[in-house]
């Protein structure tokens, strides 16, 4: 590894700056990042798709007014048509309306749970990687503990202990939402913590960190400004994977009675309900599957674009 210079914001090549200032008036960091982001074509397309998805979910109910749980046996398992563009399920409920409604929950759960997992993971990983000795040992013990917990009994216990209290505090839906986000996030931060810690172990010994340390940078500044930006690669990947995992995990939770009530059609739930009908009504599974895939795909490319935009080494 000798001789490698890892970048940190302070180590931005001077020539680049000079070139940039000569060509155009100086840009603010945010606009500079946006300029870099735009260069990543897939990221821009994905941002567009993601915006579209969110708009569809947000505005959909005003345009597509069919109810989500109107049972109509005369319309059982109908293939897509003008009346039901995504078809109907085995109770004759309109799948488009259901996916629009469920998408709000699925995306919100996916993104919030990811945020919880990543922020907890990064914090614990960074502290553990920077600190040594006792703190590292204790935090890694905590990570090991969470990794070894059998999730199912734990979840049942959580439902049993906290459901009623949270319902009282946040209302039926709000309480369930908080519970789900905390549970999914709370059980998925460990890989992030391990990844960040591993990166920190290596990065904290690098020359540029030594340099910054010698210049009297505070520990906090070392972590936030110098090491963390170089450790973000795996974190962004973990973040996007976590969104997908959380959307799917939500559907599993509703089977434990921990998720939303079973008549709320989140994407994962619809996909699960559709699985036994895969050879009779493939469209039933196709649309929620595609929705999850599309959301994950676009979030991921946006993540890639973000990394390029924030990565000081990338020469564009």
């Amino acid at each position: 590894m000798a001789g490698s210079t890892l970048a940190s914001p302070t180590a931005e090549p001077a020539t680049m700056l000079v070139a940039a200032t000569r060509m155009a008036p100086p840009l603010s960091p945010a606009r500079e990042a946006w300029r870099r982001f735009r260069k990543h074509r897939m990221a821009v397309v994905s941002l567009f798709i993601l915006t579209l998805l969110i708009a569809a979910i947000g505005l959909g109910p005003f345009v597509w007014k069919l109810p989500i749980n109107e049972i109509d046996f005369s319309a059982q398992l109908k293939a897509p048509s003008w009346a039901h563009p995504f078809g109907t399920d085995d109770l004759g409920q309109d799948l488009l309306a259901r996916l629009i409604y469920g998408g709000r929950i699925s995306l919100a759960v996916g993104l919030s749970a990811m945020a919880v997992a990543v922020s907890v993971g990064v914090t614990i990983g960074a502290v553990s990687g920077m600190a040594r000795g006792g703190v590292d040992t204790v935090l890694m013990w905590l990570t090991d503990l969470f990794l070894s917990l059998p999730q199912l009994p734990l979840l049942l216990l959580v439902i049993y202990l906290f459901r009623d209290g949270l319902k009282a505090a946040f209302g039926a839906e709000g309480g369930v939402f908080v519970l789900i986000v905390v549970v999914i996030g709370g059980l998925r931060w460990m890989p992030v913590a391990r990844l960040v810690r591993a990166q920190f172990l290596s990065l904290r010994e690098k020359e540029f960190v030594e340099a910054a340390r010698a210049l009297g940078a505070s520990r906090m500044r070392l972590i936030v400004k110098h090491i963390l930006p170089n450790a973000l690669g795996p974190v962004i990947v973990a973040g996007t994977i976590d969104v997908a995992a959380a959307i799917i995990a939500e559907s599993t939770l509703s089977f434990l009675g921990l998720g939303f009530p079973p008549d709320i059609p989140t994407w994962g739930r619809v996909l699960f309900d559709a699985k036994d009908y895969l050879d009779i009504a493939p469209y039933w599974a196709l649309f929620p599957g595609a929705a999850i895939f599309l959301a994950v795909l676009s979030i991921n490319f946006v993540g890639d674009g973000l990394r390029d935009a924030l990565d000081p080494r990338r020469v564009l």
């Binding site: 490698s4 210079t5 070894s148 690098k206 997908a244």
Partner: protein
């Protein structure tokens, strides 16, 4: 890396495990449900019978007392006694290990063997056709749950094409080469499903960390010195990009032991995952406790191994 450091870490593992076992036991003891649920709806089983069974298995004792019992037995090598099967827990677990290793183990190994080269290759040619294809497959891999991909494969390979069986059997009648043929045929689908799922995220991580390293100055320097591209990638890039990969592999290997619940369920693989889920649903605490405890030990062990490998990959990582 000193021997003293290693010794200290190993010694630290003992209180770690004890602590974890205490937490595990408490969670299992407090989690709702009891092993005799199925009896509850049977009108011919009087409630007294259920109560007597609970008392007989010590389910009415205080949690701390049950933990002390468990720990004392464990220290003497007694893994406990299953409430549901009324047999020793270690026999029960040992029966499940071959199928677990055969299916879950090979899926993990396969995932690692495929994901690492694919990830490296994708990163060396970012946004090329190969990269795009690998990425798309990876996204499919982790945005579709295994219950779904498994069913898709069954419909394709078992129902439509009639190539592969979808019930995994531990009592294959054939011998010799034919046995291997049958074994591979029946393992193909579960391994594929699991391999795709595990490999997908790994590809993304490998690609990302190789991309991180490949842009660094020293790689450019190495190239400009006229070292062959192959050697640059393998000798300079991959080694330095391996830290996150080692972390992930160390995270995934203990999972070989705990099995894959959904995949095992779909293909009826009698692995530890299906034993675990059945035991959890039946509240067979001794089995769940034993599996979780071994799993915890493996997690700690692989965490330690990962730390050691970090030091080997990057000698500047100092252990004190």
């Amino acid at each position: 890396m000193s021997a003293a450091y290693l010794l200290r870490r190993l010694l630290l593992a003992i209180p770690s495990l004890l602590g974890i076992s205490l937490v595990l036991f408490t969670i299992l003891a407090l989690a709702p449900g009891d092993p005799f649920g199925e009896l509850a709806t049977n009108p011919n089983v009087p409630p007294e019978v259920r109560m007597a069974l609970r008392a007989k298995f010590g389910l009415d004792d205080p949690v701390w007392q049950r933990y002390v019992h468990w720990l004392a037995a464990m220290l003497q090598g007694d893994w406990g006694f299953s409430f549901v099967s009324r047999m020793n827990v270690d026999t029960l677990i040992l029966q499940r290990i071959p199928a677990t290793i055969a299916v879950i183990g090979s899926a993990q190994v396969l995932a690692i063997l495929i994901a690492v080269p694919v990830g490296v290759l994708a990163a060396t040619r970012p946004y090329s056709l190969f990269d795009q294809v690998a990425n798309t497959l990876a996204f499919v891999g982790f945005s579709l749950p295994t219950f779904f991909t498994g069913l898709l494969l069954i419909l394709l390979f078992s129902v439509q094409l009639d190539w592969l069986p979808f019930v995994y059997r531990t009592d294959l009648k054939s011998t010799g080469l034919a046995w291997w043929g049958d074994q591979i045929r029946q393992s193909a689908m579960p391994v594929m499903v699991l391999g795709l799922f595990q490999g997908a995220s790994l590809v993304r991580y490998v690609r990302s960390s190789v991309l991180d390293v490949i842009r660094l100055d020293y790689v450019t320097t190495a190239r400009s010195k006229g070292i062959g591209e192959r050697r640059v990638i393998i000798g300079h890039v991959v080694r330095n990009a391996m830290i996150p990969v080692v972390t992930l592999v160390a995270l995934q290997l203990p999972v070989v032991f705990s099995g894959a619940i959904v995949t095992e369920q779909i293909f009826r693989v009698p692995g530890i995952g299906s034993l675990l889920i059945a035991s959890i649903l039946a509240n067979d605490t001794p089995v769940v406790m034993a599996v979780s405890f071994v799993f915890a030990a493996l997690v700690i062990l692989f965490n330690l191994i990962a730390d050691i490998i970090y030091g080997w990959l990057d000698p500047r990582i100092a252990y004190r």
